[in-house]
């Protein structure tokens, strides 16, 4: 581990007000597999886009084999042999495998394609003829072709952006073996991006960790680094601010029994035998690295996800077979993780979006009363101090914080008895976060049963009364908040139970 093949120093890049990369240092060793770990939005993809020449950083230098690269653009990056597999595939769907692999003028196996294809399909355990059309392939197979494309285009540095997100566990295992072979036999330099701790430990030799656009750890030896150390780096230190937990708890409002969700298709996650209950006046925190089934669990409770096993009981009534509206009638509110797109409809006015929960209460038969809608919006604006423009304006004209206030206000104003809040403060600035936390605590004090799903341990420790940790679709551990600390929760999030 001597020669630094590529080195990036003090890289900064911002988009509007958002600082995506803040003085980031990064380097690669020839023929090694490097892990890049971080939460969603930590800046991993931005950094990779800088290295592959797609983004031009505002500050910083990139050195390749000791030579400074002043104007790194995609063309130059390709010439230097830096290639990237993006999260969304960039294959031509109605072309054959061979066409896709030999499309670029940079490809080196045009004359001995058959031999090369045979060699690499063995490495990737791919048993498909190269005459097959891409659109006939499974997601996992497409992934393999994407990576193969980098090899065929003579890339020696391969940047893989969350390659396992779409793979089944078996395929993930295969990928691991393929990458190991590539790094050993072909001396390929590989960057493996993920937010899954287990994979970073299995796949890589050295680990870099990012958080909030900064590189918080460089070059940690995978063999010797501890899980909890990585978790702490990825999640950050826990601040001590905690709300008073002297709230009175009442009867059980939400009960979930033996929830099982089976999905063999990539795209959503399994749930295995999940049971929990939440009492009135209680906040149950749900911790876990994203993509371990939290979204699916919330969707099942809210009635959006169907075809699951097990029971959901709200205020003693079994609603497993019932839809969204029946659960709203029982006074359940759901603040979804995906603010714009699920909770709020893009392209639709602020006014229309403000009544999504209760639009039927603004109606007389088939007539929708505009006055009632406007009054409702004004009430929300006043109660939750939302800064809005014209009610007619599109929802996306609001700032992220105000959008979330509108969404939470809309879901909380009717004083719901059961609240599912998923990532309620993600991506918001400190003052908005404080305001939204106050709303949640206020609602707890009014006697709501609240399920708080978050990747932010700060938030969970501050607000929760109890904490469950979800890992690979199972509740792996439950903590009373007094017994929970970064150490034991972090380990549980990584799938390690003491």
């Amino acid at each position: 581990m001597t020669e630094k093949l590529l080195e990036a120093k003090n890289i900064s890049k911002s988009f509007g007000k958002i600082q995506a990369l803040d003085n980031v240092n990064f380097h690669l060793y020839k023929g090694k597999i490097h892990g890049l770990l971080g939460e969603n939005g930590a800046g991993k993809s931005s950094l990779m886009n800088v290295l592959s020449g797609i983004y031009q950083p505002e500050k910083g230098s990139i050195t390749f084999k000791g030579e400074r690269q002043k104007k790194l653009n995609p063309e130059l990056a390709a010439k230097l042999g830096i290639g990237m597999v993006h999260q969304e595939f960039r294959l031509i769907e109605n072309f054959t495998i061979k066409d896709n692999l030999t499309l670029s003028k940079a490809n080196i196996y045009i004359n001995d394609f058959e031999d090369a294809y045979k060699k690499y399909s063995e490495i990737f355990s791919l048993s498909i003829n190269h005459d097959s059309i891409i659109s006939d392939l499974s997601v996992g197979e497409k992934q393999k072709i994407e990576i193969m494309k980098l090899i065929f285009n003579n890339n020696s540095i391969m940047l893989l952006d969350e390659p396992t997100a779409v793979l089944t566990p078996q395929e993930t295992n295969q990928l691991k073996n393929s990458l190991e072979t590539l790094s050993k036999e072909d001396e390929k330099t590989i960057v493996f991006i993920t937010h899954k701790l287990k994979e970073i430990k299995e796949f890589t030799e050295t680990i870099f960790v990012m958080k909030n656009g900064q590189m918080v750890a460089e070059d940690l030896k995978t063999e010797s680094v501890k899980d909890k150390e990585l978790i702490t780096l990825m999640m950050g230190e826990i601040s001590t601010s905690v709300v008073k937990k002297n709230n009175k708890k009442g009867s059980v409002k939400l009960e979930v029994e033996n929830i099982t969700l089976n999905s063999d298709i990539g795209g959503f996650n399994n749930l295995v035998d999940v049971s929990l209950n939440i009492k009135s006046g209680e906040i149950l925190g749900v911790a876990g690295v994203s993509g371990n089934g939290q979204v699916e669990l919330a969707n099942i409770i809210a009635g959006i996800q169907t075809n699951f096993g097990g029971n959901v009981t709200i205020k003693g009534e079994d609603v497993s077979e019932k839809g969204v509206k029946a659960r709203k009638k029982l006074n359940l509110s759901y603040i979804p993780e995906n603010r714009l797109g699920v909770g709020l409809a893009p392209g639709v006015s602020i006014l229309d979006n403000s009544v999504v929960r209760e639009y039927f209460s603004a109606s007389y038969g088939p007539h929708l009363s505009k006055n009632k809608m406007v009054n409702y919006l004004n009430l929300l604006i006043k109660e939750f101090s939302i800064k809005t423009g014209e009610p007619k304006a599109e929802i996306s004209t609001l700032s992220g914080g105000n959008m979330q206030k509108l969404l939470m206000g809309r879901e909380l104003i009717s004083n719901p008895e059961v609240i599912i809040a998923a990532q309620p403060t993600r991506g918001l600035d400190v003052s908005a976060v404080e305001a939204l936390h106050d709303l949640i605590v206020n609602q707890r004090n009014k006697g709501s049963a609240i399920m708080l799903i978050s990747e932010d341990l700060d938030e969970l420790f501050k607000l929760s009364d109890r904490l469950i940790v979800i890992y690979e679709g199972r509740i792996i551990k439950e903590f009373d908040i007094d017994d929970a600390n970064t150490n034991n929760v972090g380990l549980a999030m990584a799938g390690v139970i003491e």
Binding site: Q56, P57, E58, A302, G303, I304, G323, V324, K325, K328, Y334, P336, N338, G341, V342, G343, L344, A345, P346, G347, V348, D352, V355, V356, R357, Y359, F360, S363, P366, H367, L368, K370, G389, E390, K392, A393, T397
Partner: protein, 352 residues
């Protein structure tokens, strides 16, 4: 190095669509003038003649408004479907099937009260239009097949069906080999007022307000907007997005079918290939220019009706009637380009 990007304006003027329309119309008149000048015609003479002959008298105004009816009704149908972000390219076929449905019911029933008979026939036309879009609606909702393709293709099927009917089973022996069905009886002609104006125009006014209410003031309209904005938000809100899309399509098709019924009962009085002269396609232009607003569709529909009449009569002085088509089409292009600049702005940003 600086570069320029397009960014969406946060505030869009309320009257932006109206201004864009005016700009589009202005551009269209300019283009029309150039073409007329090339043909050695004086543009101001031609345009004033068009104006005089399309709106200058009660009779010509009535003709213009009669021409506007199918454009408005089909345009309203298109705008209702657009609430769920679906495009109806099949208004032409729906107009034909609306007329065919009217004739089918007329041949097979007899109602002595003429007013009641006319109402039954208009309803048949509406249902005919809905049936025309039924297959695109089902394939859209069940299989997700693109409705632009299916509604467009349905046009060819329905026009083929019309040709078959008027040359085969419905061919009128008295029509001297002209392919057309027999005339309907005078008792079901839509009565006229002020000389030529069809009472169908008042049906059209009524349906304009109906469409406005449905889109802007009703619970159904709200649910359509949310479903059109984001299918996931609709699921989250407990709105059945597919059901809304399905009914929006049937209603949209019905509006165009009604246009066919009125055209038959007030203008052609028989089924022939001349039931529609591309009304279903022009209606797309009308709906698009107005940003899918019902009241706007009514106004622009009236203007386009007048342009068609004006275009037809200036042929007498040796100017091709296509000048009217050119104006209609360039108004759309001009208006859409203008609309774009009302919605977006060009911004200078620092590169890198």
């Amino acid at each position: 190095m600086n570069k320029y990007i397009l960014s969406r304006r946060t505030v869009v003027n309320d009257l932006a669509t109206f201004y864009s329309f005016l700009i589009g119309l202005f551009i269209a008149v300019c283009i029309g003038s150039v073409i007329l000048l090339v043909q050695d015609q004086n543009p101001s003479n031609v345009f004033s003649l068009m104006l005089k002959l399309s709106v200058g008298s009660i009779n010509s105004l009535s003709s213009s408004l009669n021409k506007a009816i199918p454009l408005i009704l089909a345009g309203l149908g298109i705008s209702i479907m657009n609430s769920v972000k679906l495009w109806n390219i099949g208004a032409e076929g729906q107009i034909f099937l609306g007329a065919i449905a009217v004739n089918l019911i007329y041949i097979n029933t007899a109602i002595s009260n003429p007013t009641l008979y006319i109402i039954v026939l208009l309803i048949s036309g509406f249902i005919g239009g809905s049936i025309c879009i039924l297959i695109p609606a089902i394939t859209k909702v069940v299989f997700g097949v693109n409705e632009i393709i299916t509604t467009l293709l349905t046009n060819y099927i329905i026009i083929g069906l019309t040709i078959y009917l008027v040359n085969g089973p419905w061919k009128d022996p008295k029509s001297l080999n002209f392919p057309a069905a027999a005339y309907v009886g005078e008792e079901v002609y839509l009565p006229t007022v002020f000389g030529r104006l069809s009472t169908g125009f008042f049906v059209c006014v009524l349906f304009t307000f109906g469409a406005y209410y449905l889109k802007e003031k009703s619970v159904f309209g709200y649910e359509m907007r949310i479903a059109g904005g984001s299918a996931m938000t609709a699921v989250y809100a407990g709105i059945n997005a597919k059901q809304k899309a399905f009914f929006a399509m049937l209603i949209g098709g019905g509006f165009a079918g009604l246009a066919g019924a009125i055209e038959l009962l007030s203008q052609t009085h028989r089924v022939s290939i001349g039931i529609s002269q591309g009304f279903g396609y022009t209606a797309i232009i009308v709906a698009a220019i107005t940003g899918m607003r019902p009241i706007g569709i009514f106004l622009v529909g009236c203007l386009f009706g007048a342009l068609t009449i004006g275009g037809a009569v200036i042929q007498t002085i040796g100017v091709s009637s296509y000048i009217a088509d050119i104006i209609q089409a360039s108004t759309l292009i001009g208006a859409l380009v203008a609309q774009f600049f009302f919605t977006y702005q060009i911004k200078e940003v620092e590169d890198g």
